[in-house]
Amino acid sequence: MNYITGGVVEAARLVVTGDPEVLHATWVSLSCTLASVSLASAIAIPWGAWLGLFRPRGYRAQVFLLRLGMSMPTVLVGLLVFGLLSRQGPLGGLDLLYTRTAIVTGEVLLAIPLMASLAHGLLAGLDRQVVETALTLGASRPAAMVRILGEVRPGLVSIVLASFGRCFTELGVAVTVGGNIRLYTRTLASTIQLELGRGELARALAPGLILLAAAAGAAVAVQLLSREDRR
């Protein structure tokens, strides 16, 4: 199809000439994703790790919830956050609907189950003896968890990158609670949808290629990190 070659040329032109709309959308996608992934990591990694290492009360129910959340459609999360932040909703007074903070809120909710689930899987698969040893060395449970997390850093990096991928490329939240407002909450993914609706297929491909480049960058990062770990 000639629109693909045309799209690649157009994408290169938009990036090289520093098209303000594309640059801004890239910035919105990147900043929201970094904020979401950081916040979600702080909550989800300890949560998932704790579940995997110590099987606390309510273990099965929590694991089930996380697995459910992991495959939640992004539009459904968007709809729930919309209900929360809309003026008629419980947090309506904060006036956060159609802001980047709203996008971050939704993305955190997308990332937490994914990251906690993967962290749980990573640590539940550890040799029990590692856990027992850490505990018998006199460490408290939280201290043992921090120590063990330090040991599985490469695995954690993959988890962070997986959630980065989910947040960076998602569309449901960005459109439903971000509103796709030009030069404000428009992300790369919502730009694609918009340009497609306008019939500008080549312009739609440009942000797609930036997303692809970011995904490639993330994949390379994982490879480099895992190679370093093997040494």
Binding site: A35, S86, R87, L97, T99, R153, G197, R198, L201
Partner: protein
């Protein structure tokens, strides 16, 4: 997890959150409108001089007409600009919106295969054309998504004695662009809005067969969200924007917007 990295990360997060929730310096008006005005590029073109003149930042959220009115009902919009006359009147009658004004109109057209098997080319009345499409058994693509265009499509079919029931009637359930591509694939007839048609015309092998009838006009109304129902809305900003849009300057700007040398939206504001 080493501490410098954590600190750096924390600093980044705080900086990002600050950009999100920092002090809101410029006055903001949230205009909720339909995808047709935003997809065509009209909203960006139209609002530029207003934003420069007043310093008010207009945030455009583009959704379907139904959702636009719902956002107004919930107080999540300051101003709505839609094309769904019956629903607009209901919105005002129920007290959610005030002071509905006509602002502009654009039009629909009937497109179809160049071979025109139903022989509708040049007919004036869309209902007559739909009747002939039905009688000939030709394929027709329906939006099927309760959009403003679909509502109009159904009204024309009702006038033509109801839509065809056979396999020739394709209920697509998609946006205008994808439906045009589908109609092209199946060499079908379709009702399209002029803006999307112009954007896709070069990519589909269909012709405009019926256009220009008053029954194909698509009027847009602009409505202020009632500040008595939602005290938090920016009522004064919304009024300023509305007043500018219906003023001679705003109306001239609407008429100046063209795609491929064609005027898409025709100014329609009348005096108060």
């Amino acid at each position: 997890m080493n501490t410098p990295a954590c600190k750096a990360l924390l600093a980044v997060v705080l900086a990002l959150l600050a950009t999100g929730c920092g002090p809101k310096v410029p006055e903001r008006v949230r205009l909720v409108t339909t995808t047709s005005t935003d997809d065509s590029g009209l909203s960006t073109f139209l609002l530029e001089p207003f934003q420069e003149e007043t310093g008010i930042q207009v945030q455009v959220v583009a959704v379907g007409s139904g959702q636009a009115l719902e956002l107004g009902r919930r107080g999540d919009a300051d101003l709505v600009l839609v094309h769904a006359r019956k629903n607009e009147d209901e919105f005002v009658a129920q007290g959610w919106g005030i002071e509905r004004r006509d602002i502009m109109w654009n039009d629909f057209l009937v497109a179809g295969p160049k071979s025109d098997p139903a022989a509708v080319r040049g007919l004036a009345s869309p209902a007559e054309a739909f009747g002939k499409i039905k009688a000939s058994g030709a394929t027709f693509v329906s939006r099927g998504d309760e959009s403003g265009t679909h509502v109009r499509e159904k009204a024309i079919w009702a006038e033509a004695g109801g839509p065809p029931t056979g396999p020739g009637y394709i209920d697509a359930g998609q946006g205008m662009g994808p439906c045009l591509l589908l109609a092209n694939q199946r060499q079908a007839y379709i009702l399209a809005d002029r803006g999307t048609w112009l954007a896709y015309a070069s990519r589909v092998g269909l012709d405009v067969l019926v256009e220009g009838d008053p029954a194909l006009r698509n009027p847009y109304g602009i409505i202020l969200v009632n500040p008595e129902k939602h005290p938090d809305v920016n009522a004064s900003g919304a009024r300023k924007l509305r007043d500018w849009l219906v003023s001679p300057a705003g109306q001239a700007r609407i008429g100046a917007f063209q795609i491929g040398g064609q005027v898409l939206f025709h100014p329609a504001a009348t005096g108060t």
